[in-house]
């Protein structure tokens, strides 16, 4: 595998691989030497945070305070029109992605599907399509690739988003804008796409 340095994280000494870690550790003396991180370790780490936040929002807010719990908030697609409305987890996720996009171009992420309710969430690049195909055909596996867009080479990772409860399948299958109406529990419904610009060293 080629070695990459991601633009933004040269300052950090993070071991991307066992082979690299000895060199990185010995570079700790404060020299200007760039410390690399394998791009998949970087995107995996970003995804771990996204996944934890999404699960926690679902578990600690939507489930606990929603109709299945205290009934204090109402998770709804049109949450803005409801005084105690709160975002669906997918919308919360997108709100996060949009807030990040306002802050930085160093990475972008989105929740996509080949069968999106919101057509904005359809894959756009060839690699996104390929990635979504791959994770649907290989449940539990991630997809990693490189693509060049507008002259910039990106590392693109795609992580599966799974129908974890009947709520996922029922809402999507019955939604008027859903192009697919037979999602099943445990099925890969879409994926999180994380894209990072690369600078080949």
């Amino acid at each position: 595998m080629k070695e990459y340095h991601l633009k933004t994280i040269k300052q950090f000494v993070v071991a991307g691989s066992i082979a690299g870690s000895a060199a990185l550790l010995s570079a700790c003396g404060g020299s200007e030497q760039a410390a690399g991180i394998a791009p998949n370790v970087y995107t995996d780490s970003l995804f771990a945070v996204m996944k934890a936040d999404r699960t926690n929002y679902t578990k600690l807010v939507v489930k606990r305070l929603g109709p299945a719990g205290a009934g204090a908030v109402k998770p709804d697609e049109h949450w803005e029109d409801i005084p105690n409305g709160t975002l669906l987890p997918a919308q919360m996720f997108r709100a996060g992605a949009e807030a990040v996009a306002e802050m930085t171009d160093d990475f972008t992420y989105s929740l996509q599907s080949k069968w999106p309710i919101n057509s904005q969430n359809a894959p756009k690049t060839e690699m996104e399509k390929q990635g979504l195909e791959y994770i649907a055909a290989n449940p539990g596996e991630n997809f990693y690739g490189e693509e060049t867009l507008g002259g910039v080479t990106y590392y693109t990772a795609v992580y599966p988003d799974v129908a974890v409860s009947d709520a996922c399948t029922t809402c999507h299958n019955e939604h008027k804008d859903s192009p697919k109406t037979d999602f099943k529990l445990g099925e890969v419904m879409g994926g999180v796409v994380i894209r990072v610009p690369l600078k080949s060293s």
């Binding site: 699960t55 578990k59 539990g140 529990l185």
Partner: protein, 107 residues
């Protein structure tokens, strides 16, 4: 006469042990297959907090409950884990094989 008999006995015991061993291997291999088809989608990634295959940290407290309880939880559903992972047609024996396989990955 005697040495032959004991030699034979050793052979038989060895053969029986080998058979046990391969029976167990066989069950684990079946468990792995069922896992890949039905459970991996969540348990490879930790989707919704599913304990990741082979991750001792995530499994230790759960594994302490014992295989019986884990099988029960996998069949009935448990917290954010849907009953049988959403595959209603899986038999109890299937779930038992997967749980044995999952536990074997912690050794």
């Amino acid at each position: 006469m005697m040495p032959y008999l004991s030699y034979l006995a050793v052979l038989i015991v060895a053969a029986m042990l080998a058979a046990c061993e391969s029976k167990e291997q066989q069950l684990l291999a079946e468990g792995q297959q069922i896992y890949q088809k039905n459970c991996k989608v969540c348990h490879a990634q930790g989707i919704n907090g599913a304990p990741i295959l082979g991750n001792r940290k995530m499994w230790s407290a759960r594994a302490e409950q014992g295989k019986e309880t884990l099988v029960e939880h996998a069949i009935d559903g448990f917290g954010l884990m849907p009953a049988k992972g959403g595959k209603a047609d899986l038999a109890k024996a299937d779930i038992e094989k997967v749980v044995a396989y999952m536990l074997s990955q912690l050794d």
